[in-house]
């Protein structure tokens, strides 16, 4: 179990993690979701003792990471694709890590077989593809057969087969009762992998709930309606309990976006009032859209009017340019 309490980290003037608290339970895959720069990697580095927080604590099974006697036997971590020397072979990279934990050489062979790198294990990692380096990282994480795993964007650089493999591995590991904590900036990826989601933006907690709940909550049904008499129709829908917003973006203009009322009812209202309909389309907001909306206020490096507005707001709140030196 991972417990984060009131964790705060700033680099100079820049606040990366802002009084963040959450718990990661064993036996399920917990997704750690947020846009780039939200503080996911920083939080993981703080949990792993690589960076020191200014305030708050992060413990694993009740102990700080640097209090673990043989940490790789408790926690396996994949932080970035290339955390290894180009000139060293994957075998020797894993061997020295195994030696620090008092693990036998046979364990190195086992994890190499687990990630499918046995044949290239003695080649220098400088020649590895991103996907292969990622597998070395997974092998290193699995070295101590740890009950807790932290994976930072593990599917980065993997081909579809590799992505499926990682997903299955994470589910299997969680099924064995381990704590699996995996970060991503892709909502759709998390939706198929994670049982539980922790969403952050600008270093703050936005949501902490089961994935299913977030999906149901986010996937608000809307109905797109087009009519030459849209003003009159809008009034009738509002009177009937629906919420009407002008549809922006979609061409041609003049559409209405209706929530809180199903498409059949809208059709009946229109027919009853003799209003002509040009379009009546039920829509399900995509998870990605829901996620964008949820984190829009916390976007730091985003593009588009929402992100610009958010940045303008932030600039007013805290003067001085933010530098993007870390994610």
């Amino acid at each position: 179990m991972i417990e984060v309490r009131d964790l705060t980290k700033h680099y100079g003037d820049k606040l990366a993690v802002d009084h963040l608290s959450f718990t990661v339970e064993p036996g399920r895959v917990t997704g750690f979701l947020g846009p780039n720069g939200a503080g996911k990697s920083t939080t993981m580095r703080l949990i792993l003792g690589l960076d020191r927080p200014q305030a708050g604590t992060a413990t694993i099974g009740g102990r700080r990471y640097d209090q673990l006697a043989r940490p790789l036997r408790t926690v396996g971590a994949l932080l970035e694709a290339k955390a290894m020397h180009d000139g060293r072979s994957a075998y020797n990279h894993l061997l020295y890590l195994a030696q620090t934990q008092g693990l036998p050489r046979t364990r190195v062979d086992e994890v190499l077989a687990l990630v499918g790198l046995t044949d290239v294990a003695h080649k220098r990692t400088g020649g590895y593809s991103l996907g292969m380096s990622q597998r070395v990282g997974i092998a290193a994480a699995m070295l101590g057969n740890p009950p807790v795993l932290l994976l930072d964007e593990p599917v980065n650089g993997l081909d579809p087969e590799g992505i499926r493999w990682i997903r299955n591995l994470m589910k299997q590991l969680a099924g064995e009762g381990r704590t699996v904590f995996v970060s991503s900036h892709l909502m759709n990826e998390m939706a198929v992998t994670a049982d539980h989601l922790i969403v952050i933006g600008r270093g703050r907690l936005i949501a902490n709930c089961p994935t299913q709940e977030l999906i149901e909550h986010s996937s608000e049904r809307t109905v797109l309606v087009r009519s030459p008499q849209s003003d009159r129709l809008g009034e009738l829908i509002t009177a009937g309990g629906g919420v009407v917003k002008p549809e922006d973006g979609a061409a041609p203009p003049g559409g209405l976006s209706v929530t809180g009322m199903e498409a059949p009812r809208i059709g009946e209202i229109a027919a009853g009032a003799g209003i002509v309909l040009h379009e009546l389309t039920p829509r399900l907001a995509s998870l990605e859209e829901a996620f964008m909306e949820m984190t829009a206020g916390s976007l730091e490096y985003g593009v588009g009017p929402e992100a610009q507005a958010a940045r303008a707001q932030a600039a007013q709140a805290s003067p001085g340019p933010a530098d993007g030196s870390q994610s």
Binding site: L79, H85, G87, T100, G102, G116, M132, G162, L173
Partner: protein, 282 residues
């Protein structure tokens, strides 16, 4: 790109055997030994240390020997007074540069490659990792440094034999030859500490070579007794005095005193490296 075989679907091993009974120190020493031997640049740099040191000693003593009869009387007084100092001084001056590079690389390459994060995740208390690295690196450099030192001495003394005979049995000579190897060990730690402090290979190598190679040149130009004292207390100037049979007429420190001064320099920079390793974000 080399193709990876498809990953197996098998999960992790059910149970790991209990940790081997060796103590924590031995585990870390074994790990640092694996790190240092598994990178090719280590071997090449160590070979270069011996080749450059023995090679330059041979070249320069050959040059001295060839021009001996044509030079004015008294010009070789320093060589005759302390042949071992002259012999070791020629090669080590250049050979020490390879140790500056290797010392920096053993730690800075971990930062530049990102391997430092893997290393610190395995040893989150941090300082034992650097201590183990210092021990393993020190032992390796000691062995190779003595090889270079004795190699230089035997080559140089054979070449200069007819002009300035010297043997290991002469007073202070064995200490000087052994001392040259010890100086190289300290220099390795000194450079390693700079690498750990600066973290960037190029900057750290430039700094180490600046301190070891360039400062003494500047120091040599400092005027007066005041400047002379400063020069003698510079890390590499003081440290290399151990490679002389006895104190030179223009030196303010004895060989052991000079070595002691360099020990203090090294201890201070190493202490800073340990301190900042504990304190800084990795």
């Amino acid at each position: 790109m080399t193709a990876a075989s498809p990953p197996t679907q098998a999960g992790p091993a059910a149970e790991l055997p209990p940790a081997a009974g060796t103590g924590g120190i031995w585990r870390l020493l074994a790990a640092e030994w694996t790190k240092i031997r598994s990178v090719r640049s280590t071997l090449w740099t160590l070979i270069l240390l011996v080749v450059v040191t023995v090679g330059f000693t041979s070249l320069l003593t050959l040059a001295i020997s060839a021009s001996w009869d044509r030079s004015r009387p008294g010009e070789h007084a320093a060589i005759v007074a302390d042949p071992v100092g002259a012999i070791l001084g020629t090669g080590i001056t250049f050979g020490q540069l390879t140790i500056c590079v290797l010392g920096v690389l053993v730690i800075s390459s971990e930062y530049s490659s990102g391997a430092i994060r893997a290393s610190l995740l395995a040893v989150p208390r941090r300082w034992p990792m650097l201590a183990a690295k210092a021990v393993v690196f020190g032992v390796i450099v000691f062995v190779v440094g003595e090889l270079a030192s004795f190699g230089s001495f035997f080559a140089g003394s054979a070449i200069l034999h007819s002009h300035a005979p010297v043997s290991l049995g002469d007073p202070g000579v064995l200490r000087a030859v052994l001392g040259a190897g010890l100086y190289v060990v300290l220099l390795g730690w000194f450079s390693m500490a700079i690498g750990g402090l600066l973290r960037h290979t190029a900057g750290a190598i430039t700094t180490a070579i600046g301190v070891v190679f360039v400062l003494p040149i500047v120091g040599g130009f400092l005027p007066g007794s005041w400047g002379h004292h400063i020069d003698n207390y510079l890390p590499s100037v003081a440290g290399s005095m151990i490679a002389q049979a006895h104190q030179g007429v223009d030196q303010v420190l004895t060989p052991w005193q000079g070595f002691g001064v360099f020990c203090i320099w090294t201890a201070v920079v190493l202490a800073a490296a340990f301190y900042f390793l504990q304190r800084r974000d990795a």
